[in-house]
Symmetry: C2
Subunit: 221 residues, 2 copies
């Protein structure tokens, strides 16, 4: 089981510490607010009240024994940076740090930290994408501008067969699977073939270049 | 173009307001902190300083003209709830609200809000998953326990051909694509066939039931 330390028991750090513990990791939770430590101590292996900008206090916890340390201090930018710097000085083998905004991210990168978490920005991007493109339910980006995307079957393909739509021949897209709505929710539709006819509410999962996916959506809007 | 209002210009709300504006939506940014409004006003269509718990102030902005209102107040739970309640009373057609923790989420659901954002929890789950299962790079969950997953090719399949590994015959998995490392990064590997031999650092994107994917990873660890 991995030994992980999480510094900063706010919403983000607290959730990470709890999820990791549920999944079987040995977690040391650190915060300088005693109330936060009181609230988390039953949900993790160890919880200790200390100021993570205090190098000796961190060292006394044998922080370098950790497989990784996750720094989740949010609002106090200076404390996050100083903590990260101290962890590097102590020789912690793997440091994952939270940044709020591109300036903080750049500074961390300059320090050689390449595992950076930006929960607010990451989810904000997804929310903005979903509000702008409501037909796109899920998206996995891949190299070379390829994507796997789950979308509502666009209007102009409803009532047509897969053979007639010609995803591969006309759009250079691969159909991974079809999800069809039934009374208790969506189900994977067995083995779609050329005769499978798309109906309203169908969701299709397709693989291909982003520009061909966009073209498919645009043409069949 | 959609008309959207975002209330609460913290890290999360500010990022949503900016991303939406970049994507062409008409955004009204609201915050009761004048400095926050000063900082955002050049990045959105409209920015106004007002207290969102003041029903008449919101009404004066014609908030019901909005296609959607996103409530991004974080730390002040009472203000987030009261704002959400007021938006419902005014008859805003679509409300998306932020929750911090399951208690807040439950209260919003009881109010009939079903579009709830939990950026810290959502990313915390992904981080905990990645730290626990480092071979899994990306994952898209689908109905009926199906998944699309991007993983490092497990040790025991390196040096073997796809035909020999038998993803479909032995594991009931479909290979969507293969990503191979080159000097400038990963690339989609054209058309993998039975003779394609997997090498160290290869990433495979596969589709199948979660338990068969887990079995494939376990057997070939
Ligand atoms: N020097 C420090 N040493 C230890 N803990 C710290 C230190 N500075 C801040 N913290 C803790 O980090 C936690 C998270 O930081 P803070 O609440 O400032 O950010 P936040 O952006 O509100 O976090 P979140 O979004 O995760 O709720 C708090 O519980 C705080 O007590
Ligand atoms: N009643 C209110 N009316 C308008 N704006 C408000 C109100 N209450 C809080 N806000 C604003 O909401 C924004 C975000 O809230 P806050 O900073 O408390 O939460 P946060 O958890 O730190 O946010 P984030 O994680 O997004 O940075 C702040 O800019 C704050 O000024």
């Amino acid at each position: 089981a991995q030994k992980l330390a999480v510094i900063g028991m706010g919403q983000f750090g607290g959730a990470i510490a709890r999820r990791l513990t549920e999944k079987g990791s040995e977690v040391l939770a650190i915060d300088n607010d005693e109330e936060k430590i009181e609230a988390i101590k039953d949900d993790v292996a160890y919880a200790v009240t200390l100021d993570s900008t205090d190098k000796r206090a961190l060292d006394a916890q044998n922080i370098t024994d950790m497989d990784a340390v996750v720094v989740c201090i949010g609002a106090n930018f200076q404390a996050m940076l100083l903590t990260t710097f101290i962890l590097q000085e102590l020789g912690v083998k793997r440091i994952i740090a939270r940044a709020q905004g591109s300036t903080q991210r750049c500074i961390l990168e300059k320090m050689g930290i390449n595992e950076i978490l930006q929960p607010e920005e990451e989810v904000a991007n997804n929310v903005a994408e979903q509000l702008t493109n409501p037909g796109i339910l899920m998206c996995m980006t891949l190299p070379d501008d390829f994507e796997i995307i789950e979308i509502k079957a666009p209007k102009a393909v409803l009532g047509r067969t897969l053979g007639d739509i010609g995803l591969r021949e006309k759009y250079q897209l691969n159909l991974i699977t079809l999800l069809r709505k039934s009374e208790e929710g969506y189900h994977i539709q067995g083995i779609p073939d050329a005769h499978t006819q798309l109906v309203a509410d169908d969701l299709i999962v397709i693989f291909g270049k982003r520009k061909y996916i966009d073209r498919f959506i645009e043409i069949n809007r």
